[in-house]
């Protein structure tokens, strides 16, 4: 094991050490504050290791893992999202009592799993990463086990994710049976060479099912609103961002060597799924009265949008997807962040019903403004990150000639606007008289959370107004180099 490999893997090593250290720490003395702080520090450390790793990138570490610019970019945003989740979770869990310390372990492990996925260049490491990311999620979803919602959501997710994993694995096994290798490059080559083979096609289709579930593409999206609603708000934020992004990032790497012209039937299926997600997600959200469910539906739609960019394949897709997810991460974390902070008060209730947001502009103007900004970003309004994300997706779609998919994207984006604006409208409505109760219960927001929201707000605006520096980094990513 060379020193270079250690440097390349340093983010993971730091994470793993941190997990063990925090676990030991908890064993010595339980302290929510300390665990949370240690977790944030761990994420900071992991982020700090990324430049170290970048120094030796691109580098293949064992046949399983590759550390290159693409992977590092994803690692950065995954760890950033993890850090944000940790900060939010602290406010959220603090008021709920119980034993919150282990939550951070799960979070860290899940992030490491997600990181492993984006660095994987072999199916084994991909699957390992996937499960390491997913299994802690079950625990996180049901972490507040006193209520029915969390347990129900966790169990639903567990059963369905298990089945989806089975689809993914079976599909991979079918491809393996024809290709004889589980290396991504090899598998991809084999899939191209055997593109006429029914077994390979069936395998790819089953992989698509498994991935579709994780991305909550229609028609595999049914679970999403339920689980997002049942999970604690910070966990929902984490799921909506990290678990989606990592899967798509890994998938993109898998398909990086495949020319877009092969597998027309698979592309058609994926396009249909993307279109169905865009339409179904947005339409579903129209009638929801729960903000978390709305955001869940919107995440279905966003998966569809980004799938259009994905369909372009290659570097264009990598850039579009990377930028899109960076923007989407910031906005989603910000939006769920506000929900989390509103839910972090004494009545231990999730403040996710639309009614909870009535008049928020009058009672909590800053939080409301942040939420509004995040929603506008998700809607793709200019001067926010989401707008350029959309521009990128459009450009990818146009360059790849995905005409009808782009058309659906336009239509769906328009529909999507309706529910984002509905939330904003509710927030501006005058609060009903006698609603003083909610003022009494207004949470005290920790300064860390304040800082986080400020950072996210700045990030969203910065990416919307002057994204050139970030884009320079993203354009430096070349997938097909290996």
């Amino acid at each position: 094991m060379s020193a270079y490999n250690v440097m390349a893997m340093s983010p993971f090593i730091a994470g793993a050490v941190a997990v063990v250290a925090i676990m030991l720490g908890i064993a010595v003395r339980r302290s929510h504050r300390a665990s949370a702080a240690a977790t944030v520090a761990a994420f900071a450390l992991m982020l700090a290791c990324i430049p170290v790793a970048a120094g030796v990138a691109p580098r293949q570490v064992t046949p399983l893992v590759v550390i290159d610019a693409y992977a590092l970019f994803w690692l950065a945003i995954i760890f950033g999202a993890g850090m944000a989740t940790a900060i939010l979770a602290r406010d959220y869990l603090r008021v709920r009592g119980g034993q919150p310390e282990e939550f951070y372990l799960l979070l860290l492990i899940s992030c490491i799993g997600a990181g492993a996925m984006v660095c994987s260049r072999h199916f084994a490491s991909f699957y390992l990463g996937l499960e390491v990311m997913t299994i802690p999620l079950y625990g996180m979803i049901s972490y507040i086990c006193s209520g029915k919602r969390g347990v129900e959501a966790g169990l639903k997710y567990l059963i369905l994710a298990g089945a989806a994993s089975a689809f993914l694995l079976f599909g991979a096994a079918l491809i393996f049976s024809e290709a004889g290798t589980l290396d991504f490059v090899g598998m991809a080559c084999a899939t191209v060479n055997y593109s006429g083979s029914l077994v390979v096609l069936a395998g790819l289709a089953m992989v698509l099912v498994g991935v579709g579930f994780k991305l909550s593409l229609a028609p595999f999206h049914l679970w999403t609103p339920d689980v997002y609603e049942g999970a604690p708000a910070p966990v929902t934020a984490f799921m909506a961002t990290v678990s989606k992004g990592a899967v798509l990032a890994a998938l993109l790497r898998y398909f990086s060597t495949v020319s877009p012209d092969t597998f027309m039937s698979l592309r058609t299926a994926f396009s249909l799924a993307a279109a169905a997600s865009m339409i179904a997600g947005n339409l579903l959200a129209l009638r929801q009265t729960n903000v978390k469910r709305i955001l869940a539906c919107s995440s279905i739609a966003h998966a569809g949008y980004v799938a259009v960019a994905f369909l372009a394949l290659g570097d264009i897709a990598a850039h579009a997807v990377a930028y899109y997810f960076a923007a989407y991460f910031a906005a989603t974390l910000g939006a769920f962040g506000v929900i989390t902070l509103l839910s972090a008060n004494g009545d231990l209730r999730e403040h996710d019903a639309m009614e909870d947001y009535r008049g928020l502009f009058h009672t909590r103007p800053v939080l409301a403004a942040v939420l509004a900004l995040m929603l506008l970003s998700l809607a793709g309004v200019p001067l926010t990150a989401g707008f350029l994300g959309k521009v990128y997706v459009f450009m990818a779609g146009i360059r790849a000639g995905l005409w009808w998919q782009t058309g659906v994207l336009v239509f769906a984006s328009a529909v999507g606007l309706v529910y984002y604006l509905r939330i904003i409208a509710v927030m501006t409505a005058t609060p009903k008289d006698g609603d003083h109760a909610c003022e009494v219960l207004l949470p005290a927001v920790s300064s860390a959370a304040k800082g986080l929201l400020a950072a996210l707000t700045l990030a969203v605006l910065w990416m919307g107004i002057y994204p050139a520096p970030l884009l320079r980094i993203i354009e430096g990513i070349h997938l097909s180099a290996h």
Binding site: I135, Y138, K148, V151, I159, G162, A166, L174, T181, P225
Partner: protein, 103 residues
């Protein structure tokens, strides 16, 4: 030894197992049985890996099988804990009863 078993046979068996698990998921309401069904599906996939690996004389298939079993075990561990919690809260193992989250 495995080489004597044709790949197709193994694959068909795996597919049958997979479908068994899938049908189990669809028809059983008891959450325990549903968990077991997912295990069957995962194991079917594992079997498929082993069969495929044996076709190419690659150890990868068997390694994948071991990873799958490990992960499935982890999943079952979490799953059982959740089922206990579930039973405690809902007083039943019928998943159809758990529809507080919907719409």
């Amino acid at each position: 030894m495995m080489a004597t078993v044709p790949t197709e046979y193994g694959m068909v068996l795996a597919a049958v197992l997979f479908c068994t698990g899938l049908v189990g998921l669809l028809v059983r309401r008891n959450v325990l049985f549903m968990l077991m069904s997912t295990e069957i599906m995962l194991n079917a996939a594992g079997l498929a890996f082993v069969v495929a690996g044996s076709r190419w004389h690659e150890p990868d298939g068997q390694i994948m099988f071991m990873i799958i079993v490990t992960m499935a075990g982890a999943e079952v561990a979490v799953g059982l804990a959740l089922i206990m919690r579930f039973y405690h809260l809902f007083k039943t193992l019928d998943t159809d009863a758990a529809d507080t989250l919907k719409g």
